[in-house]
């Protein structure tokens, strides 16, 4: 990737992170850790990889995206807002009564949200359905899904893994956000779902392991996924939970907590914003 483009993406990812912090701070709750961790992936998906048009959120031939780890909705909303699906200012209404920015993604009301998610394990199955629909109708769109490493403890994820390989859904690209932490602690201590690469390979998937906070690696992985035929691809993306906010990085307590006013100011400063 060209240096200039990489800088542009870095700036977009920074804005997404600012949007996450604004949203969660004004909500007084939410899930900043995992959201910050996937900001670079989301920037690549919506500003580089996916065929979408913010002026036509329901465009028939658009690429589909499913946030299977729906609790990181702040990252999806901040990405959609910065991409032009709705005003960035609206991010401050996250989780407020009457806001369309529900705590978890709601496809009925939020422009750009292709599937309602939040209950873990279901989004990846729905993404399989979208990919299968393209196979049935002969549509050329691709379907992307981001799921959590902790989420992979849900049995339904492996039902979906079986299904996607069985129906040769090579138009499906899943990204497993591997930040190593879940609510109760490190995933290897709570309920070890590793090794993900060997498991997905055994299920018949093409597996790519990358640093999920490295734009070159992310872009190369999506490019490689597009060339794979006859099987789905999973990108196992190592990310830093809380990435970009000093005190949230790799800190499990920021999985689902909002910063207080002083912490909010520190977070914005960490992200290069003038508070």
């Amino acid at each position: 990737m060209e240096q200039a483009r990489k800088q542009e993406l870095a700036e977009i990812a920074r804005k997404i992170r600012v949007g996450i912090i604004e949203g969660v701070y004004h909500a007084g709750c939410g899930h900043p850790g995992g959201s910050l961790g996937i900001a670079d992936l989301m920037a690549c998906l919506y500003f580089e990889e996916m065929k979408i048009d913010p002026s036509q959120p329901k465009m028939e031939g658009r690429d589909r995206f499913v946030l299977s780890k729906g609790h990181t909705a702040p990252a999806l909303y901040a990405t959609l807002a910065n991409r032009g699906f709705f005003p960035v200012e609206e991010l401050n209404t996250l989780r407020h009564t009457g806001s369309r920015l529900q705590g978890h993604p709601d496809m009925k009301h939020i422009p750009g949200v292709d599937m309602s998610t939040g209950s873990l394990g279901q989004g990846i199955s729905a993404a399989c359905g979208m990919a299968l629909a393209a196979k049935i109708s002969g549509a050329a769109y691709r379907t992307y899904a981001v799921l959590g490493d902790g989420e992979s403890e849900e049995g339904q994820v492996w039902e979906a893994a079986m299904f996607a390989a069985h129906y040769k859904l090579d138009n499906l690209c899943a990204v497993l956000d591997w930040n190593g932490l879940q609510i109760d602690g490190p995933i290897t201590e709570v309920m070890n779902p590793t090794p993900h690469d060997e498991k997905f390979r055994a299920f018949g998937w093409h597996v790519i392991s990358i640093d999920g906070n490295d734009f070159d690696a992310i872009e190369a992985a999506f490019r490689e996924a597009r060339t794979v035929k006859g099987k789905p691809t999973v990108i196992i993306a190592r990310t830093v939970k809380g990435k970009g906010v000093s005190y949230m990085e790799n800190a499990v307590e920021w999985h689902g907590a909002a910063p207080k006013e002083e912490q909010y100011k520190v977070a914005l400063r960490d992200l290069g914003e003038e508070a």
Binding site: M107, A160, H166
Partner: protein, 314 residues
């Protein structure tokens, strides 16, 4: 009169309407039993076996619907409505997606397989979901009409079918017309109204004859749509007959009986007595014997009708 199981009519209807309408059918390794195999044979490219993985099948269907396909997903009621309840709720009903969830082998007429496979709770589960339409046809002819209505309806729907054959009563009714949310008066009457659905409708008509022999005039409503309930027809019946008996091959908790009682207690309170499975699990056995044991008989309906009339006179 010929007897056909509604699951059989379901499979045949899918195969019949598959020629004219564009929909897909998913099953979870039960195509031979749910009868979607009839569709699979005719339209193999529109049939997708999901294996024994109902949760995934349900959310896959949501994704298909979100991308414009019209999926029917089939399994035994225990699994499509029971095991995958949360997927039906969050993947399908919350975004109000156009998926038809089908539960065959509902109720205790599953017979020998026993309690683990006899779902007496699916109406309660599906009825509790916002925006869900719940339909339990009484016979083969009505099933065919319900499947066509499901294809033409845009939104989530639960269809409940039986393993066990029932007489094809509605096929004999020249005026019969199926409409979602409209009950069918199967027989007029003035002393009591029997509101039944699914397998119990023909037993309600038998009970009506038993009562007629005693000089009691019973109206029978076939409430094939459990949700949205035909409140207009129900209230009219309550006003004109003064008491109601409900009959369902389902738990008395949360199904047709409570739906009817709920509406009437709020709008036109009259005695409502429920016939159904009384808060207990099923068991293995021959279907006629199980129906006796669990009180799902014409005699039981007639007995409750007499009791309802007695309450009315107090």
């Amino acid at each position: 009169m010929d007897k056909i199981a509604t699951r059989e009519a379901y499979g045949k209807a899918l195969a019949e309407f598959g020629e004219q309408y564009d929909f897909v059918v998913l099953d979870a390794d039960l195509a031979a039993a749910t009868k979607t195999g009839i569709f699979k044979k005719k339209f193999p490219e529109r049939f997708f076996d999901c294996g024994i993985a109902e949760a995934n099948m349900t959310s896959v269907a949501a994704g298909l619907a979100a991308a414009g396909q019209v999926p029917f997903i089939s399994s035994f009621a225990m699994f499509s409505a029971g095991r995958a309840f949360e997927q039906v709720r969050n993947s399908i009903c919350y975004p109000h997606l156009n998926v038809k969830v089908v539960g065959t082998h509902a109720g205790i007429t599953v017979g020998e397989d026993g309690a683990t496979h006899q779902c007496d709770e699916d109406l309660a589960l599906m009825r509790s979901l916002p925006g869900m339409v719940v339909i339990n046809p009484s016979d083969a002819f009505e099933t065919r009409a319900a499947v066509l209505a499901a294809i033409q309806y845009n939104g989530p729907m639960y269809l409940r079918f039986s393993r066990y054959a029932t007489p094809n009563l509605t096929a004999e009714m020249p005026e019969y017309r199926f409409e979602i949310g409209r009950g069918v008066v199967m027989g007029e009457g003035s002393d009591v109204t029997i509101v039944a659905c699914g397998y119990m409708v023909h037993l309600a008509l038998e009970a009506r004859e038993m009562l007629a022999a005693e000089g009691i005039s019973a109206r029978v409503i076939n409430m094939h749509t459990v949700k949205p309930l035909d409140t207009e027809l129900l209230i009219k019946a309550a006003e004109e007959t003064g008491c109601v008996v409900t009959a369902e091959e389902h738990s008395v908790n949360g199904g047709l009986g409570e739906a009817v009682a709920g509406v009437l207690s709020e709008i036109h309170p009259v005695p409502v007595l429920r016939v159904g499975v009384e808060d207990r699990f099923g068991q293995s056995g021959k279907v006629p014997e199980l129906l006796e044991i669990y009180g799902l008989t014409a005699a039981k309906i007639a007995e409750r009708a007499r009791a309802a009339i007695a309450l009315k006179k107090k």
